[in-house]
Symmetry: C2
Subunit: 153 residues, 2 copies
Amino acid sequence: MLEAAEAIEILTSYLAKSGLKMTSQRRVVTEAFFDPEVTSDHPTAEELYLRVRERDSRIGYATVYRSLKILTEAGLASPGRFGDNQTRYEPESPGEHHDHFVCTECGKIVEFEDDAIEKLQIEVAAKLGFELTDHKMVLFGKPNGTCKAVCKT
Amino acid sequence: MLEAAEAIEILTSYLAKSGLKMTSQRRVVTEAFFDPEVTSDHPTAEELYLRVRERDSRIGYATVYRSLKILTEAGLASPGRFGDNQTRYEPESPGEHHDHFVCTECGKIVEFEDDAIEKLQIEVAAKLGFELTDHKMVLFGKPNGTCKAVCKT
DNA sequence: ATCCATGCAAAGGATTTGCAAAGAT
DNA sequence: ATCTTTGCAAATCCTTTGCATGGAT
């Protein structure tokens, strides 16, 4: 995953290119979002807001929403739904891609990559007459006997 | 896809089993939802509400929401998100499953099935130590030269 | 007769927006 | 100096809920 410092660099150049400005708030939101401890939880806007507040308690709710929107436009964040009816955000690294598995027992979200599936998705799109530009895939399941590491329950 | 009449039968037995009652409103909502013209659009609650109103203008918004929830519990409807930030509902037929492709040009939603992908999903889950219970997959793409039938643009 | 369902309006939760003040270039 | 951003509160959108009335078994 991207380091916070790299993310801020990318964000800064995106802002400049778009005629927008780098601010201390945007820096703090980005740092909080790319903090491994925060972001591994795929935070909701509210969860991120709480973490942001720990770093700068004067930052408002709306600023977090506005920053998440900009991070998304800059390709640094990606919103998703993982079955709990909440919009959760995760950091995007340019060039990387992964999908998600959700444990239905404990709610934990695990990331995975599967090139074979990606390839088949491209084929499916082609068969329908389209060029694949994006996809969302979320798997749900319950731990079986061999699950030791992932599920807490 | 299920005929409206079959859906109503299934719903009726689900309601009976659950100590709930079949009503004219639930019948109308189910008929509208399983009308091929309505449901091929993967309607939002509001879109369905408008179609329901054409059939019985006294039916309220809340009833449509409540009915959709019951249809979902009965396994006859399934909510999903297809990239436009709206919850859309589609009819479920017991035993069938399909995923979705969304044209990014015209927004049209196409259903597809791919057994090879489904198989790989089971394997991915197994590798993580889980038994797959469900999944959501939405592909996005733009029409290529060979797209004639699907995309209107 | 009993309990569930309905329609309405009000409440709720998540996200966005208007505005005046503060900040960045 | 100009134009963007911020924080707050109000507004908005979607969905759910409380309650009195009507309906189903």
